[in-house]
């Protein structure tokens, strides 16, 4: 495992996601979210899932972040920001608690998952596409139906908004 690369990417991801929630301007928040997604794509590459990483960049940053940016610019950056009810310290508390729980669970399960350093033939694009199209073909079709339903729903919402 390449340790420096992991540390840098993990830092980018965590700092990006904190900035996404804490940046004063929503546009900066959306861009920080995009940076966090990029770091996440890097972590996926470290885990030998480079196709998922490309998909993550194309879908999350190419589609989701730009939709969010568009919405933020439409709604106006000044609107909708309100005072927080909890203290900012609670961020630290939440992160610490989650990390402790996560570390504990990981250490407990580390014996059950010893892990292997080389992924070999079971992580490449051929076996991924075989699994995706043969073993999970039905689910893929269902997913495309769900996506079509979502597109129609979003279009209906946009049309209804035009009438009022």
């Amino acid at each position: 495992m390449t340790e420096p690369a992991f540390l840098v990417l993990a830092a980018v991801t965590v700092i990006g996601s904190i900035m996404a929630l804490e940046a004063r301007d929503l546009v900066y928040g959306a861009v920080a979210l995009g940076v966090a997604f990029l770091g996440m794509a890097g972590l996926f590459i470290l885990l030998d899932a480079s196709y998922v990483a490309a998909f993550q960049i194309a879908v999350y940053i190419g589609a989701v972040v730009i939709l969010i940016l568009f919405t933020v610019m439409l709604v106006g950056p000044a609107k909708g920001e309100a005072q927080m009810e909890l203290k900012r310290v609670s961020l630290l508390a939440a992160v610490l608690v989650a990390t402790l729980i996560g570390m504990g669970g990981a250490l407990a399960s580390a014996a059950a998952f010893p892990g292997s350093d080389v992924c070999g033939g079971s992580c490449d694009i051929q076996s991924l596409s075989r699994t995706l199209l043969i073993d999970y073909g039905t689910q893929l079709e269902l997913l495309s139906l769900v996506l079509a339903a979502a597109v129609i729903g979003a279009l209906t919402l946009a049309k209804a908004e035009k009438k009022t």
């Binding site: 992991f6 929630l21 992160v95 998952f113 946009a158």
Partner: protein
């Protein structure tokens, strides 16, 4: 294995940040950010477990591909709802959008 622990730790931290955002933020868009972060935490978890399993398995990547597609869909519909709510109420603070309250 140490690597598994560290990936798991990043995932747990992201989950914590996401839950913090859900609990404290009032803007609908920030809450969408938090939901996306939680999605990402889950994706990283699934991929890490599938990769660091012995022997590694590719099904985790397939599930994450599905998850990414669903997250994009959720963002599209959610943002459409936010835009409509803004047009109707001129407000995206979730605690002031009380029109649907029964």
């Amino acid at each position: 294995m140490e690597a598994l622990t560290s990936f798991f730790g990043v995932s747990a931290i992201l989950l914590g940040i996401g839950i913090y955002g859900l609990a404290t933020k009032r803007s609908a868009i920030r809450i969408l950010f938090a939901v996306e972060l939680i999605y990402n935490a889950a994706n990283l978890n699934i991929i890490a477990f599938a990769r660091l399993r012995n022997p590694p398995i590719v099904t985790g990547q397939v599930i994450v591909l599905f998850s990414i597609a669903l997250a994009a869909m959720e963002a599209a519909v959610g943002l459409a709802i936010i835009i409509v709510a803004f047009r109707l109420n001129n407000e995206i603070d979730l605690r002031k959008l009380t029109r649907l309250k029964g």
